[in-house]
């Protein structure tokens, strides 16, 4: 055997040149089967969301697992964003909104009256559709959360800011202008700043509501890469109307759709929740198949 070839191939997996032992690792990376083994962060059972009398989403049950990226997809009005906003109680701000069923977060019912929604949001951060940096300096944007939590010490804040900006792959681009306004950044950078801001309070989960819909493909790719990078530290749930995005980044995908419910209004429902590879190659439900292939009945 020629040296060149054996070097190249053998270096990467010397024991496997002909060996019997194809490790599971290779196959595992294919479909993220290990996911089955990871810990559930959220457990939704039979969750419905009502706005006044109107049932926006009905009876969704699923398990969102640690250190995974879970994507919610579906047509407009299917309730994917509604469910996302239940996960850190952002829908508290809509007065008429009411959540039925239970949403457990690490085993604790998020809608328990004892639970403090502010605390919930410290643990479960959120990134929004439109990049929304505060009209403050880059530094102050990131330091906002830590300061709220009582960190006053300059050195400590500096450290948190640097860590968070590094964590969101923004440090190199902004380290020389931390004092300039967050709004002076490009759209994609702004969104990464928002991620840095969310990350700065060391949350457990980051919810993302169509974080790339306002961005161009390059900025989108950058955010997607970032998500994959940070998922080892955080559990990520992303709502996207871009199926390809869900396919590219997520480990599991939940497909929601609408059905005409009582009084002619459309109620969202969870159709299928499966590993992403399965959703896009061989979904269980015919409606999922029709949606992902672009046939819509």
């Amino acid at each position: 055997m020629n040296n060149e070839l054996s070097n190249t191939v053998a270096q990467q997996a010397p024991e496997r040149m002909i060996g019997i032992d194809v490790s599971n690792e290779t196959r595992a990376s294919l479909t993220a089967v290990t996911a089955e083994l990871s810990h559930p962060v959220f457990e939704l059972s039979d969750v419905s969301v009502l706005y006044g009398d109107f049932r926006a989403v009905r009876g969704a049950s699923m398990s969102i697992r640690e250190h995974e990226i879970t994507a919610f997809i579906g047509p407009s009005g299917c309730g994917k964003t509604t469910i996302l906003r239940c996960l850190n109680r952002m829908n508290d701000f809509i007065e008429t909104a009411k959540v039925e069923g239970t949403i457990n977060y690490h085993g604790v019912n998020l809608y328990d009256p004892e639970v403090n929604s502010t605390e919930v949001r410290r643990r479960i951060g959120m990134v929004f559709q439109k990049p929304n940096p505060f009209p403050k300096s880059i530094y102050d944007n990131v330091a906002y959360g830590p300061r709220l939590m009582g960190i006053k010490n300059k050195a400590e804040l500096d450290a948190v800011v640097e860590k968070s900006l590094r964590g969101s792959a923004l440090w190199d681009e902004v380290k020389d202008r931390l004092k300039s306004s967050g709004l002076s950044l490009s759209g994609g950078q702004q969104q990464r700043l928002c991620i840095a801001r969310a990350v700065a309070v060391e949350p457990d989960v980051i919810l993302m509501d169509e974080p790339c819909s306002a961005l161009d493909p390059i900025a989108t790719a950058r955010i997607e890469d970032l998500m994959k990078e940070i998922k080892s530290k955080y559990t990520i749930v992303i709502v996207t109307h871009n199926m390809q995005q869900a396919a590219r980044v997520s480990d599991r995908t939940a497909f929601f759709t609408t059905e005409v419910g009582e009084s002619d209004r459309r109620t969202g429902q969870l159709v299928e929740f499966n590993p992403t590879a399965k959703m896009f190659s061989n979904p269980d439900d015919e409606r999922t198949e029709q949606y992902v292939t672009g046939r819509f009945g």
């Binding site: 599971n24 198949e289 992902v292 046939r295």
Partner: protein, 241 residues
């Protein structure tokens, strides 16, 4: 609501039809080349060998179209399986047509040598069986009927049987001196060609099942290996569980 992405789905159907047409060509070729072989029809052989070029071109065309669909339409789920199957099937059919061509070539090589009637009989039966299988699988493909497709491996067992019979018969005929070595070797190859045609039909049937259900045709050997491997790794898996 109407179906969306209709042009894409139309093109997908077109590709499918073209594959079916190509398959139908093979279905038609099989009895034809058998007749050429048995009737020593040199003209027919020439014609088929030229037709083979056309089938090659059409197969390439299908592959091209499938790749373009992949590049432009980013198909997923069943659509993707259709396209992936097209990529797999077009060489499968093209190879089948090649096999038919090979049979014609063999016919030319043994031109002038008389064939043992027994051998002729088995060849005819192999041809009929291969034709039957191929027709069945092309129909199953067009109908995306995994149930019909699932019958193919078992059908093919009969062809394998015939193959063994033919080989045995060739040895017998050779031993009896009714055919010489050249002819014997060519006939052995021809036997293999028919058998391969059946294999291709089986492969196509697996693709049909794949299109319908996403079931990936795992060769029995691969499955065997997996089984062994999983056993070996059982302890490790438990540790993780």
């Amino acid at each position: 609501m109407n179906e969306l992405r209709s042009e894409f789905h139309h093109e997908l159907d077109e590709v499918r039809n073209e594959i079916a047409r190509l398959g139908a060509s093979v279905v038609e070729l099989i009895p034809r080349v058998t007749a050429i072989l048995l009737d020593q029809d040199l003209e027919g052989a020439e014609y088929v060998l030229q037709a083979d070029d056309e089938i090659d071109a059409r197969a390439i065309d299908i592959e091209d179209r499938a790749l373009t669909l992949l590049a432009l339409q980013a198909p997923v789920a069943r659509d993707l399986r259709q396209v992936a199957a097209a990529l797999k099937l077009s060489p499968e059919i093209e190879r089948s047509a090649d096999l038919c061509g090979n049979i014609c070539k063999a016919a030319r090589r043994i031109y002038g040598h008389a064939l043992d009637p027994k051998v002729r009989g088995i060849i005819q039966r192999m041809s009929d069986q291969a034709h039957k299988e191929y027709k069945e699988v092309v129909e199953a493909y067009l109908a995306v009927d995994p149930v019909r497709a699932a019958a193919l491996p078992d059908m093919d067992e009969y062809l394998d049987d015939l193959h063994r019979q033919l080989i045995a018969q060739i040895f017998e005929s050779h031993a009896a001196g009714t055919i010489d070595l050249q002819v014997a070797v060519q006939l052995a190859l021809v036997a293999r060609f028919y058998e391969r045609l059946g294999d291709h039909a089986v492969n196509i049937s697996q693709r049909v099942r794949y299109i319908a259900s996403g079931w990936l045709p795992e060769h029995e050997s691969a499955a065997r290996f997996r089984a062994r491997d999983d056993q070996a790794n059982a302890h490790g898996e438990l540790g993780k569980g």
